[in-house]
């Protein structure tokens, strides 16, 4: 049943027909929805069928989106699993179970994923109190459910040469962030593995529901904290489009430039730490200098280095500093020698190539099936980049390329990031050459943006708007909207639902590294433990975003 009047085509599907509908949508040459972009739940306590599973489908070849809504009765929330159609549904379904208590039938490992096993209740249900706390003990720890190589499921200990179960993490320097990897080794080879995540879970989505639209921005900083500015932009863009406000050209210009700087920074961190993991420490120093200096620019603009909170709904929080262009140009001089040094050190270095070429390779078709996006997908030969497929901000006005490589392995993930840094530098250079557009940095609408300070001090009307905006928040018209930007590690989407009040009814973030990391057990099986470490770095999994 199609629904009208929304930001993208939406169908309401009955759950019994869901699997057939999805399979048909995937295979029909007319539709070709080959990627399950996102799957999550909604809760409307006042409806007869209280829960709703929402699926965002994406067709990479056609660039089309489709939203499927599956109403589920509150008394009996069941959903058939979609893993046979899209492998990427695996963790999304676990999350759906964890957050909403929806039973996914046929799921191989339906256990809590973001919260602890001892957690009670389902946090994103509307009747769950956001301030509720639980004492979580070791006794109910996550029990690993290993994903084995074919043929190893049934094998007993005696049949393997030397069976050993290894636990790495959650606090282990090689597990960037806090992940726990459990691997069954047969000799040197990983034959079965499982990961546990959720140590950094803080329920961003629930917290967003208890704050005003504007107050969510500092929370988005903490998603992908290596490139927090892109998160700010992604979130604000969605809310701006719900409000129907036009961001002034100067703010758009600055957003594009700073997003690209953030992307460079994120790629530097990803590559730097991958290389450290395989023992190439020098590159880490060279690349982190770049990051430090970009932090300097962000700090000069917004007053913080890591968690910048660099946008407001409708524009930027403050006028750009007077030396913005000079500083950016200085950075354009500063960055290339360091990137070149690293490329000279490792690009053709056989020691690094032996550790990375062909390691944890994934084909483009599989990667799409697993809902991969971002540099990891482009390293597998699929040139999907949100900036090119659905241009936003100023990306369609500059001249740049989407680097695509076909190895699908750790080396190509590294290389794609390096090539993207060069593309980002070129985008920034073109925009700086174009010159800073004149005008304000935030929309001149007292219902959206705070009035200028001197007006708020001295004029009664501005003062009233100032108080109204802070006390009640921005009043976003009722509706729903999905919007995405190209985050540093993939398609970063925000799906916002408003009921017309000052607080979001629901903010769903599509975290790009969540589906990427869900493939991890399959990727590392068959390799050695040291390959697993190299793989983890190459995927650039950022815990703040993965676990929200």
């Amino acid at each position: 049943v199609p629904e009208e009047g929304l930001d993208q085509p939406t169908w309401v599907v009955h759950r019994d027909a869901l699997v057939e509908v999805c399979r048909a949508l995937r295979d029909d040459p007319e539709s070709r929805f080959d990627m399950l972009s996102d799957l999550f739940g909604m809760d409307y306590p006042e409806r007869d069928e209280r829960f709703e599973a929402v699926l965002h489908l994406y067709s990479v070849p056609r660039g089309a989106r489709l939203r499927l809504k599956v109403p589920l009765p509150g008394a009996d929330p069941r959903l058939p699993t979609l893993i046979p159609v899209w492998q990427g549904a695996n963790w999304f379904e676990r999350e759906l179970y964890d957050m909403f208590g929806v039973q996914v039938e046929g799921h191989p490992n339906l256990s809590r994923i973001l919260t602890h096993e001892a957690f009670q209740g389902h946090p994103l249900r509307k009747d769950y109190d956001a301030a509720r706390r639980w004492i979580l003990t070791d006794e109910e720890m996550y029990q690993p459910k290993f994903v084995f190589l074919p043929g190893y499921e049934e094998r007993s200990e005696d049949e393997m040469f030397e069976r050993l179960t290894v636990n790495i993490g959650p606090s282990h320097p090689a597990m960037h962030g806090t992940f726990r990897l459990m691997a069954v080794l047969d000799g040197e080879t990983i034959v079965g593995s499982d990961v546990e995540i959720g140590y950094l879970h803080r329920c961003f989505e629930k917290m967003s529901e208890t704050h005003t639209w504007q107050q969510v921005i500092p929370y988005t900083d903490r998603l992908n904290y290596c490139s927090s500015f892109i998160n700010n932009v992604g979130y604000c863009r969605v809310v701006e489009r719900m409000l129907g406000v036009e961001v002034p050209p100067r703010a758009v210009w600055a957003r594009t430039i700073l997003s690209e700087f953030s992307r460079i920074m994120d790629h530097c961190v990803a590559n730097g730490s991958t290389l450290v993991d395989v023992g190439a420490l020098t590159n880490f120093w060279y690349l982190f200098q770049v990051r430090e200096e970009i932090y300097g620019l962000l700090e000069r603009c917004f007053g913080a280095r890591l968690t910048v909170s660099g946008t407001r709904i409708g524009g930027l929080p403050a006028e750009l500093p007077p030396d913005f262009v000079e500083r950016s140009r200085a950075l354009l001089e500063y960055i290339p020698p360091r990137i070149e040094d690293v490329q000279r050190l490792v690009d053709k270095n056989r020691i690094w190539m032996d550790r990375s070429v062909g390691i944890s390779a994934i084909t483009g078709a599989d990667a799409v099936n697993w809902s991969w996006t971002g540099p990891c997908l482009r390293a597998a030969g699929v040139g999907y980049d949100v900036r090119r497929a659905h241009p936003y901000d100023l990306y369609d006005t500059v001249d740049w390329e989407v680097p695509v490589l076909y190895g699908g392995d750790v080396y190509d993930r590294y290389k794609v990031r390096m090539l993207e840094i060069w593309q980002s530098l070129s985008i920034i250079r073109q925009l700086l050459d174009r010159g800073m557009p004149e005008g304000p940095v935030i929309v001149d609408d007292p219902h959206v943006a705070l009035p200028p300070k001197d007006a708020a001090y001295n004029q009664m009307e501005a003062m009233i708007y100032h108080f109204k905006l802070i006390m009640d928040g921005i009043q976003v018209p009722a509706g729903e909207r999905y919007g995405c930007v190209e985050g540093a590690n993939g398609e970063l989407g925000f799906y916002c639902v408003s009921d017309g009040g000052g607080k979001p009814y629901r903010v769903r973030v599509r975290p790009p590294c969540f589906p990427v990391f869900s493939t991890f057990p399959q990727l590392i099986n068959g390799g050695s433990l040291s390959d697993a470490i190299a793989t983890l770095g190459g995927l650039n999994v950022i815990a703040g975003e993965l676990e929200r």
Binding site: P61, Y219, C301, L345, R350, T363, L405, G407
Partner: protein
Amino acid sequence: MSETTPATHGAAATTPHPTEVRPRRYTLPERLYLPLLAGMWVTIRHFFGNLTGRRKGPIIEYPEVRRDYSHRYRGHHILTSRPDGSLRCVACFLCATACPADCIHIEAGEHPDENIEKYPLVYEIDMLRCVFCGYCVDACPEEAIIMSNNYDMAYFNREQTIVGIKELQRPFSFDPNRLGYRPFYPEEEATRDRMRRAAFDLVAEAKRRAGEETVARA
């Protein structure tokens, strides 16, 4: 960069997703480890550059040397004062409302001066909860809370992390070099001065008028 293929959206539409991987091939020099020499040259260049001091290393000898932060840095908060030393804060609770982390606690009291109405008896910020987003500064209608660029916040216990009026008012108030995020920056100092003068004129004017009225009534 020869292996880069520009993929436009149209190109992706015509080609199906690759079903096999084509990893990078080793070239002969790579097989022979020859490019390692280029890498060695990079590190040697850096080594001698750093050794002779020809290039400035990126190391900052903290805490003797500190990174130069801008005037927008969002550090420890400051409660600003009026010329007579009392707090500018009028306990309107806007900062506490705007705070996404719920870290500001205010208790208001009646001010003897009826033009001011209220002032904070208690003003506490929980530094462990604070996310340093600067929303309190944006929200303040009196420019009573601003931020410094002080980022060393170390405490011995949790009680100390809840800082009150004394800590917020005292240490940085009069050192303009250590100010951070605030509504107006030095580059806009002229505007700020003008505005502030206007604000004080208004206050003085109001006071004068109030005084005249009292005189007249008497």
